[in-house]
């Protein structure tokens, strides 16, 4: 059975808030719906980043391997949150591992999916990419502000 992504979930996803109804419908068609049990790994740190994931139901934990070889949890993600959207676009290796902590449903968009979306609805593909760019720009600004604070504190900047 081919499951269709729930448009309602997409509508509630902050990253996609600028997509209109038609674009959301096109996106819903191109997402793969996946379910997993608690404890399942979505990917491991170092894996090639080939897709982005949207949590529909359930919860996930992101962990990184410390030098001590222990896994340290650095974030939790729930419904409406998007995972790995940057590695998806720049093809860098995953910098953390992600594991389901409940049974969960998530939607996956890989690069082929993005191209299919572009063929269906170029504006939807562009909107998804803009959404990531906006998010990155916002985070970059906050990161730059923090760096400035740190540099000032270290006395590098006057």
């Amino acid at each position: 059975m081919h499951l269709r992504a729930d448009k309602e979930v997409l509508r509630r996803t902050p990253l996609f808030r600028r997509l209109d109804e038609q674009e959301l419908a096109a996106l819903a068609v191109c997402l793969r719906v996946r379910v997993c049990d608690a404890g399942a790994w979505l990917f491991r740190q170092g894996d090639p980043g080939a897709s982005m994931l949207l949590v529909a139901e359930g919860a996930f934990a992101a962990t990184v391997r410390e030098r001590s070889a222990e896994e340290r949890e650095i974030n939790r993600m729930g419904p409406g949150e998007v995972i790995g959207e940057m590695a998806f676009l720049d093809a860098a290796p995953r910098s953390a591992s992600v594991r389901a902590i409940t049974s969960a449903t998530y939607y996956e968009l890989d690069r082929d999916g993005l191209e299919i979306l572009r063929a269906h609805s170029p504006s939807a593909a562009a909107a998804v990419t803009w959404a990531v760019i906006r998010d990155v720009t916002r985070r970059l600004r906050r990161m730059d502000a923090l760096i400035e604070v740190e540099l000032e504190r270290a006395g590098v900047l006057e």
């Binding site: 940057m86 170029p122 760019i133 720009t137 923090l146 540099l151």
Partner: protein, 518 residues
């Protein structure tokens, strides 16, 4: 007379010399400070470890060092005055130097400004060039092997030490360092040395010097995996060091380019000769040092602005020095062809028809060297894609500080495509430059119409932003680590914990940690 295996004791005679004290110990020899028994002159006496004297191969390698050093006469290569063997123990007599190694200097100072690094580097570049001219590759250039000698007047002179594993180019001396033995210090080793130790040329030395320069200007090694030797070698072979300027923001971008080029993982991408590296470093030295070396290395390349320009550059000046056709307008519309767009690698795979369609929907302009594209504070809805030439970014708040260059395939002002914010910087053409002007609404229409060229431009905007974010996150992590070390004794401040939490959140956990830069 000491037994072969023992160190020589203070006061013990060794041939015409008397031992004073050990200065250091290398892999197969101990270096002593000694004096000539009759003349009293101080020397550095390198005596082979007793453990090696029965190994013909080691003795031969030791003597090869002696011969290599003895044939080289250069003010910045340690001077060898005598070579021989006493009671079966080979030795080398070298000039005695007061001072410290660059490794010791680095340990004391953390890191050095670009001008100091360039000043130290040029004499060494000249020394290595002289060795190469004599057919000798050093093969183990690193801060421990560069000595900063201080003379009686307090003047400092960098001196290249230890041709211990250097090998003649000439194939007749079937080198002892061949046959798969990996010699040298892994951290500074070139990828070609890591992979196999034969068929090396002088560019391996250039690489090691490049790593040394990287370490001098940032205080850290470009590749420093301490998990295992294998991991370190893998890092060296993949050759993607963090940009020095992401560690030391005030480092001039052009200086960084020189360092990274010297340590390019493919040797064809390095400077062709040491002299070329020397010429590229000239703009960054202090005036005194530049005046001294300009005769050997030639006029600095005009494409690289001099250090004084970088510091307080009205960016005009550098631009004004560029020859530009007389009476050329600062900017004018122009026509670009699909063939010219082919210079941009990420447009590979787009057809001529797709490129032509894109060109038909956007405008193209040429800017003369020095002409401004936009100024900080302006409201705008356009971005610029560089097709040929180069733009420079200035920060007018900072006396025209050069913030970087934008070359073919890179964008300027792309934030204007997504939101209405004033330009954060000023950008001008550094040389004659052709750009495509992307207007927000028109670009959006191209995307909506499914232009594959527009989609690739958009992806490029995304990827460059993502990479900047990864670099920024890493930089912040480094700053916090440094601070953490500084605070190690005291209790962690609440603010630090707050920052930690913030980093975890903004990295969105998944994205930012330890991913490669580019």
């Amino acid at each position: 007379m000491s037994p072969l295996g023992a160190q020589l004791a203070s006061g013990e005679p060794f041939g015409r010399y008397v031992i004073d004290a050990p200065l250091g110990e290398g892999g197969m020899a101990v270096v002593y400070r000694a004096h000539h028994a009759e003349l009293g002159r101080l020397v550095a006496l390198k005596v082979m470890h007793g453990a090696f004297v029965f190994s013909e191969a080691h003795v031969e390698r030791f003597m090869a060092e002696a011969r290599a050093s003895a044939t080289l006469r250069h003010p910045h290569i340690v001077d060898v005055s005598d070579v021989g063997e006493i009671d079966g123990r080979p030795y080398i007599v070298m000039e005695h130097l007061e001072g410290e190694t660059l490794a010791a200097l680095l340990a004391r100072q953390g890191r050095l400004p670009a001008s100091a690094v360039a000043d130290l580097a040029l004499p060494v570049v000249s020394a290595v060039a002289a060795a190469h001219a004599a057919g000798i590759i050093h093969r183990d250039i690193k801060p421990e092997n560069i000595f900063l000698a201080t003379d009686a007047r307090g003047d400092e002179r960098p001196v290249l030490l230890d041709f211990g594993i250097s090998k003649n180019f000439a194939p007749r001396s079937k080198a002892l360092t061949e046959a798969g033995h990996v010699l040298g210090t892994p951290y500074y080793m070139s990828p070609e040395q890591v992979q196999r130790a034969d068929a090396l040329d002088g560019r391996a030395d250039q690489y090691s010097l490049g790593v040394t320069l990287y370490e001098l200007c940032t205080g850290v090694l470009p590749f420093r995996s301490d998990d295992s030797l294998y991991m370190l070698m893998a890092e060296i072979m993949h050759g993607r060091p963090e940009a020095p300027s992401s560690l030391v923001p005030e480092l001039p971008v052009d200086f960084e380019r020189v360092v990274l080029r010297a340590m390019a993982s493919s040797r064809d991408e390095r400077f062709a000769t040491m002299a070329e590296l020397g010429r590229a470093l000239l703009p960054f030295c202090t005036d005194e040092v530049r005046a001294k070396w300009i005769a050997e290395f030639g006029q600095p390349d005009l494409r690289i602005p001099s250090a004084s320009h970088l510091r307080a550059r009205p960016s005009w000046r550098a631009a004004a020095e560029e020859p530009s056709p007389p009476s050329a307008l600062p900017t004018a519309p122009c026509a670009l062809s699909a063939a010219e767009l082919r210079a941009i690698p990420w447009l590979d795979g787009c057809s001529d028809a797709e490129l032509d369609a894109f060109l038909g929907a956007v405008s193209a302009r040429r800017y003369a060297a020095g002409a401004p594209l936009f100024a900080q504070g302006e409201q705008a809805t356009t971005a610029f894609l560089v097709v040929s030439g180069e733009l420079s970014i200035d920060d007018p708040d900072d006396g025209g500080l050069d913030l970087g260059l934008i070359g073919p395939g890179e964008l300027a002002g792309q934030i204007a495509l997504i939101e209405d914010v004033p330009r954060a910087t000023s950008v001008r053409a550094r040389v004659a430059t052709a750009v495509l002007v992307l207007e927000r609404e028109a670009f959006q229409r191209l995307l909506a119409a499914g232009s594959p060229v527009a989609a690739r431009v958009q992806l490029t905007v995304a990827v460059s932003g993502i990479r900047q974010l990864r670099r920024a996150t890493r930089r912040l992590a480094i700053l916090m680590e440094e601070r953490d070390e500084a605070d190690a004794a005291g209790a962690k401040s609440r603010r630090l914990q707050h920052l930690r939490a913030a980093i975890a959140e903004w990295s969105v956990a998944i994205e930012s940690r330890s991913s490669p830069s580019s």
